[in-house]
């Protein structure tokens, strides 16, 4: 990797100042940025380590939502009694991200800010209709994910926490890429306050909502309801591990499994 300056601010305000440099990169767990740096795909002038910012840590229940600090590691979400009680599907999702070592280091904020199409968390954020808290504002999930590796975050804007509304029901299922173990096709379903949301990750260039499935499930919350919904292969990803058609098919299978998991 190319060398860079390293900073470890203690507050969000200091971090924001450091990230005003357009060539600076934020790091928390490092499991996305470091592999990219090792392959020299990125040449940051500075790396700003957010892991010392206390205000971005922790899991708490606020009203009818679970608010999780951006620096919270996947393993913490997976084992949190609070999360397990309120949104078991979210704990389940976190417990299946990458491998044990990824979960020990990787963070919620890092994963969601990066918006890798094959990452797990974006499906939960979009599927639960979460609200993203940043150093500047609050952003609805529907406005946050804008395209492959692209979000509404500005250069000097830091994702600080995510507020997940507690659903009546939620479930997640995914098929992993056999080599990378990233998501090949995943579906997060949730019924929150009577509204149904279905988010699809892995299959497309960016996590997206499956409107036809949402409609079908709103009318009839059952695996059978989505069986009749055909996911179009148009615009989906295809690679040596599976065509767009295969991924489209998997979306249907994973939707059924996610609903079964949601109960």
């Amino acid at each position: 990797m190319y060398d860079f300056a390293y900073h470890k601010p203690a507050t969000v305000a200091d971090a924001v100042k450091l990230l005003a440099d357009p060539d600076a990169k934020a790091i928390s767990g490092g499991h996305t940025l470091i592999p990219a740096l090792k392959h020299r795909l990125n040449k940051p002038s500075a790396v700003v380590d957010l892991s010392g910012i206390a205000e971005m840590k922790g899991i708490k229940r606020v009203g009818n939502a679970i608010v999780i600090g951006a620096l919270t590691r996947h393993a913490e979400v997976a084992t949190s009694a609070e999360v397990k009680a309120a949104i078991p599907a979210l704990a389940y999702l976190a417990s299946h991200i990458g491998d044990v070592q990824v979960r020990n280091r990787g963070t919620l904020g890092g994963s969601v800010s990066n918006n890798d199409p094959a990452a797990d968390y974006p499906a939960a954020v979009l599927g639960l209709g979460a609200t993203i808290h940043t150093s500047k504002r609050k952003i609805a999930a529907d406005d946050f994910f804008q395209g492959m590796f692209t979000t509404a975050l500005e250069q000097d804007e830091i994702l600080t926490a995510i507020e997940f509304p507690i659903p009546e029901k939620a479930g997640y299922a995914k098929m992993k890429n056999p080599a990378s173990r990233y998501v090949m096709a995943g579906v997060f379903v949730a019924k929150t306050g009577g509204a149904v949301r279905v988010a699809v990750n892995g299959a497309g260039p960016c996590v997206f909502r499956q409107a036809d499935m949402e409609k079908a499930l709103a009318a009839n919350w059952s695996a059978d309801a989505v069986a009749g919904v055909k996911q179009s292969a148009d615009g989906l990803n295809g690679d040596i591990h599976g065509s767009a058609e295969y991924r489209a098919h998997l979306v249907g299978v994973m939707a059924k499994r996610a609903i079964a998991a949601a109960g």
Partner: protein, 796 residues
């Protein structure tokens, strides 16, 4: 207190001696060595599959921080550095030699695959070397590439080498075509099958590395390298590439983190660091990152075959006709030409009595990484072909697949058995391994398991493979007549120290096989010296007299036999010393497990009495016998060895996703005499994992431009713990008749026998979908494609 020492000889599962250091992080792998003043090399590699080099500008790179030198192919040419040699010469059908185009260490005029080395940057740190390598300006004129074998053989295809017209390396054959054609003409049934044996990337967990050193005061070079055969590297690099006499070149292969064939070959980087160390008079180290491994380690397999089997009305085989295309990649790697010929076509009789066989093989140059031997090498390709053909033949003749195999087995009383493709099998019992495997796998009870799985919505299948391989390579005169440019004996030295402990020097090399334990057991068994008092030295040309290394499941059959021969010499000499000490006739001295005895008396001398006398020859037959107790033997095998057996795989397919899960795997192998059952089981388990990897997960994919799409572990599917299931491994022994240990070899059987068993199981699971051919790997998307596109044949 009377302590009975645990039995440590042949047949005991002695826990491994080497594990103490590996388990405590004290192994010494090549990259663990660091020298005073050491520099780091980073290789500039071609990003193109095929391009002309119009110029290489090193000026900017040379001025980068920490940079000591940047060398190109032209710099090496000025020093008359030779090309990387090929160890085999195959001849065409017309008797002419194969095309053998030059393989420069650093590319000169052209690059021929993505990853082809073009220059090397050498700097004080690895990162500085990499920074400098990025600053080397190579002016490429990109040329169209011949990537697939099909494309390479087409008229007008881009030419990989000017010296290999039509991209043909050789067009070779074995067998009498006319006789085979006649057999087909009289056949009641002919079964045809087209197969692809998928290209694999070995991926030993330790990336290759090399550390070159030069002492300007003596002119001595030392190379530490990740090699399976340091003496061979010394010979090839010293004699052919760098022109350094053996006496001035020491090659050390310390602990090596897996090889599977990929670390047999002499690679460019070994020559680069050794030569650079000489130029700079400083140690130079290179360590591959995994991305480089993918594009520079020799790949494996990559055959496309058309095959035809002629049968009579009773299902007896009358003849076999095979036509194969074998990918050589861009250059000939050290062993490459022999893999699809003498390690492949000679195996096409398998365990069957097929009376006549004809096989023709075209070896093809393409703009891809060189292809060479990978665990099994040629034999997995032959076995996959035969065992897939068996199942298709069974289906098309209506004969049960087990019965069809049995009907054509070489009978147990037919050994030695001469095949129509050159080999003579010495021993085996294919019915016994089959019976044992059928029983262990509960073959008879399978339909109940299939029905139970169906209730859970899963498609369950069972598959079998009855296989044989030839290993323990190899009789030097035989391989010499076939085109090998080296002998394939092995060397062993037994050094009995004055106080009775023993050091064994062997030319075999352990990179996971447990030699440091198994070889000690031979000494324990034969000389009666406890395992704890025996040490194995290997992997260093300065310590071990000579050796041909470890590959082709040869270490015990050939290397172990050399040790046995050397121990025979120790015993013979010991008897003469014992006869002198006990004032007896040498012919009256008996030896067993460490004790010399005058026959029929209670007069004995222990081995330690003899060794003391040998090194302190106060009372010694000095006029007729030299002091000392150390013997060296070269063992050249009389024949190949022929392990074989039966593998049975059971799989379940999720019809929704197409994912194939291993549920059971049973192996019954005849590997000859078993020295350490624990280690043998481990070797077979590991081989099976690689075979399952080939069958279900792994494949190398290039795009049409020659870019490697499966170029990292993000895209090349390495088997993980949850991809595999427990395996049941057992042995059934018939002894090898021609080596002193009766051993056959166990390193490759797992990777040879298992892939067709798995694919046959997948095809069986999909029997309602009319699957006839199924290329490996059986990935979820491929299986889903079959299920989705297929018609459910059976009524439900």
């Amino acid at each position: 207190m009377n302590v009975v020492a645990p039995f440590e000889g042949i047949g005991a599962s002695v826990r491994r001696k080497e594990d103490f250091r590996f388990l405590q992080g004290r192994g010494a792998y090549t990259d663990d060595f660091n020298r005073q003043g050491q520099l780091y090399a980073w290789i500039v590699r071609s990003p193109h599959a095929h391009a002309r080099i119009k110029g290489v500008d090193t000026s900017a790179a040379s001025r980068m921080p920490g940079v000591v030198a940047v060398f190109t192919g032209a710099d090496m040419a000025k020093d008359n550095v030779g090309g990387l040699p090929c160890g085999w010469q195959i001849h065409n059908k017309d008797g002419s030699p194969m095309a053998e185009p030059p393989h420069p260490v650093l590319a000169l005029d052209k690059v021929r695959h993505v990853g082809d080395p073009v220059a090397v940057a050498i700097a004080a740190t690895r990162q500085q070397a990499r920074d400098a390598a990025e600053a080397v300006g190579v002016d490429y004129e990109v040329l169209p590439a011949a990537v697939s074998m099909d494309a390479a053989l087409k008229a007008g295809a881009p030419q990989v080498h000017d010296g290999a017209p039509g991209n043909l390396c050789y067009d070779w054959h074995i067998g009498d075509k006319a006789v085979v054609d006649a057999a087909f003409a009289s056949a009641a049934k002919v079964v045809k099958l087209d197969l692809v044996n998928n290209r694999l990337i070995p991926n030993a967990m330790e990336p290759r590395a090399a550390l070159g050193e030069f002492d300007p005061t003596t002119g001595d070079y030392t190379l530490h390298t990740t090699s399976q055969n340091p003496h061979v590297i010394r010979l090839l690099m010293g004699a052919n590439v760098l022109h350094i006499p053996e006496s001035k070149l020491r090659v050390v292969a310390p602990d090596v983190g897996g090889g599977f064939g990929s670390k047999i070959y002499h690679y460019a980087e070994e020559a680069i660091v050794t030569w650079s160390a000489g130029k700079l008079a400083r140690p130079v180290k290179w360590t591959a990152d995994r991305t480089e491994s993918f594009m520079s380690d020799a790949h494996g397999r990559d055959h496309v075959s058309h095959t035809e089997l002629a049968l009579d009305a009773d299902g007896k085989f009358l003849g076999l006709r095979v036509s194969t295309l074998a990918n050589m990649g861009a250059y000939l790697s050290t062993f490459a030409p022999c893999v699809p010929t003498y390690l492949y076509a000679t195996l096409l009789a398998g365990v069957y009595t097929t009376p006549v066989i004809y096989c023709e093989v075209k070896a093809v140059f393409t703009n891809t990484v060189p292809v060479d031997a990978y665990r099994g090498a040629g034999r997995p390709e032959a076995t996959f072909l035969l065992e897939r053909l068996m199942d298709v033949a069974a289906q098309e003749t209506g004969i049960d697949r087990v019965e069809l195999r049995r009907r054509n087995f070489i009978p147990t009383d037919a050994f030695p058995y001469q095949t129509p493709v050159a080999l003579q099998y010495d021993s085996g019992n294919y019915h016994a391994t089959l019976d044992q495997a059928l029983k262990a796998s509960d073959w008879a009870g399978f339909e109940a398991r299939r029905a139970e799985a169906a209730k859970r919505g899963k498609l369950r299948g069972i598959g079998i493979s009855t296989y044989l391989e030839a290993c323990g390579i190899a009789p030097s005169a035989v391989v010499g007549s076939l085109g090998a440019r080296a002998g394939l004996y092995e060397v062993g030295t037994i050094r009995v120290h004055p106080t009775g402990s023993v050091t064994v020097l062997t030319g075999a090399h352990s990179h996971g096989q447990g030699h440091e334990t198994t070889f000690c057991q031979l000494v324990a068994d034969k000389l009666g010296v406890p395992v704890a008092q025996v040490d194995i030295v290997h992997g260093d040309t300065a310590k071990v007299p000579f050796g041909m290394g470890t590959y082709g499941s040869r270490s015990l059959a050939v290397g172990g036999s050399a040790m046995m021969k050397a121990m025979d010499k120790i015993i013979a000499k010991g008897k003469r010393i014992a006869a002198h000490l006990m004032e007896a006739d040498v012919d009256d001295i008996e030896f067993e497990r460490g004790i010399f005895r005058v026959a029929g008396t209670d007069k004995t001398k222990a081995l330690v009495d003899i060794s003391v006398a040998a090194y302190v020859p106060h009372n010694y037959p000095i006029e007729e016998l030299e002091p000392g107790l150390e013997e060296t033997a070269f063992y050249d095998p009389k024949n190949f060895t022929y392990p074989g057996g039966c593998h049975i795989a059971e799989v379940e397919i999720c019809p929704e996703t197409g994912k194939v899960s291993m549920v059971n795997f049973t192996a019954v192998d005849d590997v000859g005499r078993v020295i350490n059952p624990m280690i043998v089981e481990g070797q077979v388990q590991g081989g099976i994992a690689q075979g399952i990897g080939q069958a279900l997960l792994e494949t190398c994919v290039y795009d049409a431009d020659g870019q490697l799409l499966s170029g990292s572990m993000m895209d090349y599917t390495m088997p993980r713990a949850d991809d595999l299931a427990p395996v049941s491994v057992a042995t059934h022994t018939t002894l090898c008749t021609h080596n002193p240990l009766g051993v056959k070899g166990c390193g490759e059987v797992g990777a040879i026998g298992s892939p067709p068993a798995v694919i046959n199981a997948v095809v069986d699971a999909l029997r309602d979908y009319g699957v006839r051919t199924l290329d490996m790997p059986a990935t979820p998307s491929k299986i889903w494609g079959i299920i989705n596109g297929g018609r459910r044949m059976a009524a439900e």
